[in-house]
């Protein structure tokens, strides 16, 4: 089966449980099981090839420019982890079917579980570290959902949040580390990175990369001091704990360390950090585990301890250590998942997980007892069970490890860890299954149904099988170890055996087991001492830190982001001025390189008008109507300025936009207060004035410097001037740029314009369907013109309409060669239509407007898009234009260009957008009690005369 499919199957399958739950819980569980089974079977088809030493790859270039490729590869290590994930996943899915109660939403549970499964398989199979990071974060997210699955439990929510914060933080650090690593190696493909051991270890960025990556791995694998999230994640349903927090997710950090072992390991930094942290975690986890009374908390800390053990083995950097680590990952996954499942069974049957309330379950639950006892003894490291073998290898490795120049440090601490590990394993058996029977919350506990004990039983069969006949596991362990080692080290000449002779490891093992039993005998007084003198709970520290961070960010946020927009604007302006001022003072502005253009009287007059209008506008801004008029003056002066400074297209556009903007603001002003009340005190106005003056001064100085300076680089404008006619077939270079050179930009812009208009339309509709509508309809009439639709204006606008439309067509047609084009023509036509609204009233005009404006916008975008697509049929890229010259006899020779089709789209879009916006505003102006005139013209002397005569005659 394709590797892509194996990774994709769980994700695709995640869609099914939510649907299948309607067909019942068995169908839901069965479907999920089948999905995972298919992926597992697909994976198994590759076993022969991988065991023979092949590496399978599947490549798909996704974003090659970023080095982001969807590449997957399957070697021994990937196969090993993927089998664990999918294989144990199968057992967990079966177990969860019977574990979840009727009140739990099983579809949701399995969806999350499959999402998680897919993300995990993605991590272990992907070849690209950027993809790996994506999958990595996905596991954090899906585990958040799974831990918080019981949303009604506060511990569940808190545990989920804590896990997300810790692992998510580590994930962020890892992103940094991975990017550095990829940068050093020159590729983001793992297979390439793994070949550059020397280059990576010689790089000065090796240490930062190592620290960041280890931060990610340690948080994920619950290494000290980040171990505390794991016990709190135990608020999750037991299948989640068994799956994520013992067998798979917490191993992701180990996987990553194993995966990058060939390039990262072997240095002093790696050895000290990884071995040291692993050792500390192992001992602390084991000690704390012994004194936990909650079954799952005990198992959680024991998991922390075993993860530390494996980390330590990876840290030693020897081939034998790596082999022991691989073997222990396998063994730990088997016995720990089984133990979690038995804990779930006990919780389920006895109604409690509190060890002090349990006891004597041996007779009541014999099957569970056998499973739990075998798994526990394996964890304690008793011979003939698989835990013994790898623990022996660990102690062997520890005996040869010298840390901080001490040959005793590692062996002694490893023995202490193993001793406590044996103690809590024995406690799990002795205090739960032996002793006197305690109170039973659930009546008489008994063994669960087959469906619930079979999954852990399968794992325990493996525990015993490997323990008795270690050679069964040897090919797998050797293949995986070879994959971990890569080219960095030779395969160790060690074999998995029960009896190695009287080695130091055996002595240490004997000490551990004996000591463990002694500890258990002395448990009661020790537990009392622990309760008094034990270390503080990590949760309190974590909560305090998080609380402090929240308080700090709240203080900052409330200072800066208190809902006062004026404050943001002021802060922003001051910051920009400060930064720009700093650049101005420290940098050196280029000396003037251009002659200033002479000032002629006319432009001077225009400038004077503009400045005076602006100043009066600011002074008189409380009078809103006056402000609007003055704004129109400013806009007019700017368009005159454009015309003077050789920009006829801009002048035309600015002028027509000015008209519609003023109309729009007038419409709005109709509903807003006419005056702006005086609210700011003098001091504040002065402050704002100073800020404004500073920004204005800066902007002016900047423009002045730019205007008198030369171009910093060669401009691309010469290209446009040169090719406008040859390549674009037009002499108006601005228009050719718009519809041809930069056609894609324009295409985007008309879409934005259309969206803006639709937003306005939608907002208006929403407003008018709410309470605002009644308020608008019933607002008092004020300042109503005596004559709403003056006859002169009505007649003139109607006569002008065809003329203006023709001007629009003319401006549109000549646009390619003379100032004009779709934008300007669209605005002109829109103004012509708006004039009809203003003169004859909304009802009259909209009654005669048969094409909806949305349709015009849509048609415009469509026409422009289709013109662009048309180029595809001639094998050219999107929006390539073509043109030709034609002669139809009575006319002169004329030009046709495809750009004209595009410009037509622009034209339609502009007309539609402007009209839809104005139309929406005008909709609000309608009020109750004023019916539309039934006549075409309100005032009609002949009609009125006839009526008068009628009256007179009547």
């Amino acid at each position: 089966m394709s590797l892509f499919l194996i990774v994709a199957l769980p994700f695709l399958g995640a869609l099914l449980p939510g649907l299948m739950i309607r067909a019942g819980r068995n169908a839901c569980g069965g479907t999920t099981f089948f999905v995972t089974l298919t992926a597992f079977a697909g994976l198994m088809t590759h076993v022969p090839a991988v065991m023979a030493g092949e590496v399978l790859t599947a490549r798909l270039d996704w974003v090659p420019a970023l080095g982001l490729n969807a590449n997957f590869f399957l070697d021994g290590l990937g196969l090993f982890f993927a089998s664990l994930i999918l294989g144990i996943g199968l057992l967990i899915i079966a177990y969860a079917r019977f574990y979840l109660s009727r009140e739990d939403d099983m579809g949701e549970f399995y969806t999350y579980l499959l999402l998680f499964q897919g993300a995990m398989v993605g991590i272990v199979l992907c070849d690209n570290i950027l993809m790996l990071l994506v999958f990595w974060e996905l596991t954090s997210l899906s585990s958040f959902l799974l831990i918080g699955y019981w949303k009604h439990l506060p511990e569940g929510r808190q545990g989920a949040r804590m896990a997300l914060i810790v692992t998510g933080m580590g994930g962020l650090a890892m992103i940094g580390g991975m990017l550095i690593l990829g940068d050093i190696a020159g590729s983001y493909d793992l297979s390439v990175i793994l070949e550059h051991r020397d280059r990576i270890q010689a790089s000065p960025y090796y240490l930062p990369a190592l620290l960041l990556i280890l931060l990610g791995a340690f948080t994920k694998s619950a290494q000290f001091p980040f171990h505390f999230w794991l016990p709190h994640a135990m608020a999750a349903p037991t299948p989640v704990s068994a799956y994520l927090h013992s067998a798979t997710m917490v191993k992701a950090g180990l996987f990553l360390m194993a995966r990058l072992w060939p390039v990262l390991s072997g240095t002093e930094a790696w050895f000290i950090i990884v071995t040291g942290i692993g050792l500390v975690t192992m001992v602390i986890g084991a000690v704390v585990a012994l004194f936990k009374n909650d079954l799952k908390a005990l198992l959680a800390f024991s998991t922390v301890s075993h993860l530390g053990l494996i980390t330590m083995l990876l840290g030693t950097g020897t081939a034998f250590g790596a082999m022991a680590a691989v073997f222990h990952i396998l063994n730990h996954a088997c016995f720990k998942a089984a133990l979690f499942m038995t804990a779930g069974i006990i919780d389920h049957e006895a109604g409690t997980r509190d060890i002090t309330r349990l006891g004597g379950l041996r007779r009541l639950m014999p099957v569970t007892f056998v499973i739990a006892a075998l798994a526990s003894l394996s964890m304690a490291g008793i011979p003939l069970l698989n835990g013994f073998l790898s623990k022996e290898m660990m102690l062997e490795e520890a005996a040869h490890t010298v840390l901080f120049n001490s040959a005793l440090l590692v062996p002694v601490l490893a023995t202490v860890g193993a001793l406590f590990s044996a103690a809590y394993s024995f406690r799990y058996i002795a205090h739960v299954f032996f002793g006197s029977q305690q109170d039973n919350a659930n009546g008489q506990p008994h063994d669960p149904g087959f469906g619930m004990w079979a999954p852990p039983a399968v794992l325990v069969v493996l525990v015993v099988a490997i323990g008795v006949a270690p050679f069964l596991a040897e090919p797998l362990v050797r293949t995986v170890t070879a994959a971990v080692l890569g080219d960095a080290a030779a395969m160790p000449d060690a074999h998995l055996k029960i009896w190695h002779g009287l080695t130091p490891a055996l002595t240490m093992s004997a000490i551990a087991v004996t000591g463990g039993m002694l500890l258990l005998i002395a448990f009661a007084p020790l537990a009392r001492a622990w309760a008094v003198a034990g270390p503080p709970a990590a949760k309190a520290i974590f909560d305090a830190i998080i609380g402090a961070i929240i308080a700090l960010s709240r203080t900052i946020t409330e200072r800066l982001h208190d809902g006062a927009m004026t404050r943001y604007a002021a802060i922003f302006s001051v910051t920009v001025v400060a930064v720009a001022g700093h650049a101005w003072i420290t940098g050196n502005a280029p000396a003037p390189a251009r002659e200033m253009l002479p000032v002629e009287p006319l432009p001077l007059a225009g400038w004077l008008l503009l400045v005076v209008a602006t100043l009066v506008l600011v002074w008189q801004h409380r009078n809103r109507f006056l402000a609007l008029v003055l704004m129109g003056v400013v806009g007019l002066m700017i368009s005159v300025g454009f015309a003077y400074l050789s920009a006829p297209d801009l002048a035309l556009t600015q002028l027509s936009v000015e008209v519609v903007t003023v109309i729009l603001l007038l419409l709005a002003l109709n509903f807003l207060p006419r005056e702006t009340p005086m609210e700011s005190a003098g001091g504040r106005r002065l402050r704002d004035g100073i800020i404004a003056a500073a920004v204005g001064l800066g902007a002016g100085a900047l423009v002045y410097t730019i205007l008198l300076g030369d171009f910093a680089a060669q401009t691309i404008s010469a290209y446009h001037l040169e090719n406008a006619y040859k390549g674009g077939g037009g002499t108006n270079v601005v228009n050719v740029i718009l519809v041809d050179f930069r056609g894609y930009d324009t295409f985007g812009e008309i879409i934005v314009l259309g969206i803006a208009a639709l937003v306005i339309y939608a907002t208006t509709e929403a407003l008018l369907s709410g309470p605002v509508r009644a308020r608008l309809l019933n607002r008092p009439l004020e300042n109503v013109a005596g004559d709403a639709h003056p006859m002169m204006m009505v007649v003139v606008t109607r006569l002008m309409m065809p003329l203006v439309l023709m001007v629009g067509v003319y401006i549109f047609l000549r646009g390619h060669n003379e100032p004009g084009g779709g934008f300007i023509a669209g605005l002109v036509v829109a103004i012509a239509v708006v004039m009809q609204y203003m003169a004859s009233g909304y009802a009259w005009a909209s009654g005669r407007q048969r094409v909806p404006y949305h349709g015009i916008i849509g048609t415009g975008v469509l026409v422009a898009g289709l013109t662009g697509i048309g180029a595809w049929f001639f094998g050219a890229p999107f929006l390539t234009s073509a043109f030709g010259y034609f002669r139809i006899p009575p006319f002169e020779k004329f030009e046709l260009a495809t750009a004209m089709g595009f410009d037509l789209g622009v034209f339609l879009c502009v007309v539609g957008a402007v009209m839809l916006s104005l139309d929406s505003f005008a909709q609000m102006a309608r009020r109750s009690g004023i019916a539309a005139s039934e006549y075409d013209i309100d005032i009609d002397p002949s009609r009125d005369h006839a009526l008068d005569t009628d009256k007179a005659e009547g």
Partner: protein, 118 residues
Amino acid sequence: MELLVASSVGVLTAAGIYLVLRLRTFPVIVGTALLSYAVNVFLFASGRLAVNQPPVLRDGVTAYTDPLPQALVLTAIVISFGMTAVVVIVALGAYLSSQDDHIDDGPGRDDVGEEAQP
């Protein structure tokens, strides 16, 4: 001439910023409109100034002003219309719904203490 353009941009920017710092929606809208004038002229000016050199190709003429900023500013003018229209409808909707055209938010309103008494 350059001085005139530069000072216009400066005056427009200052006026725009001052109005944006007001407390009611309408002056803020007018302020952003003034700011967009300033920005458009700024962009246009990046092509340097030229009189009587429109970028419309003619036989025998070799000097043209820079067409590229003009093309950019042309669309910017149209888009700024769209932006103004959206901001206006938002302001209008807020005013019609709450009968209040302050732009600052609720109880934490900036300078409540400073605001001049009626």
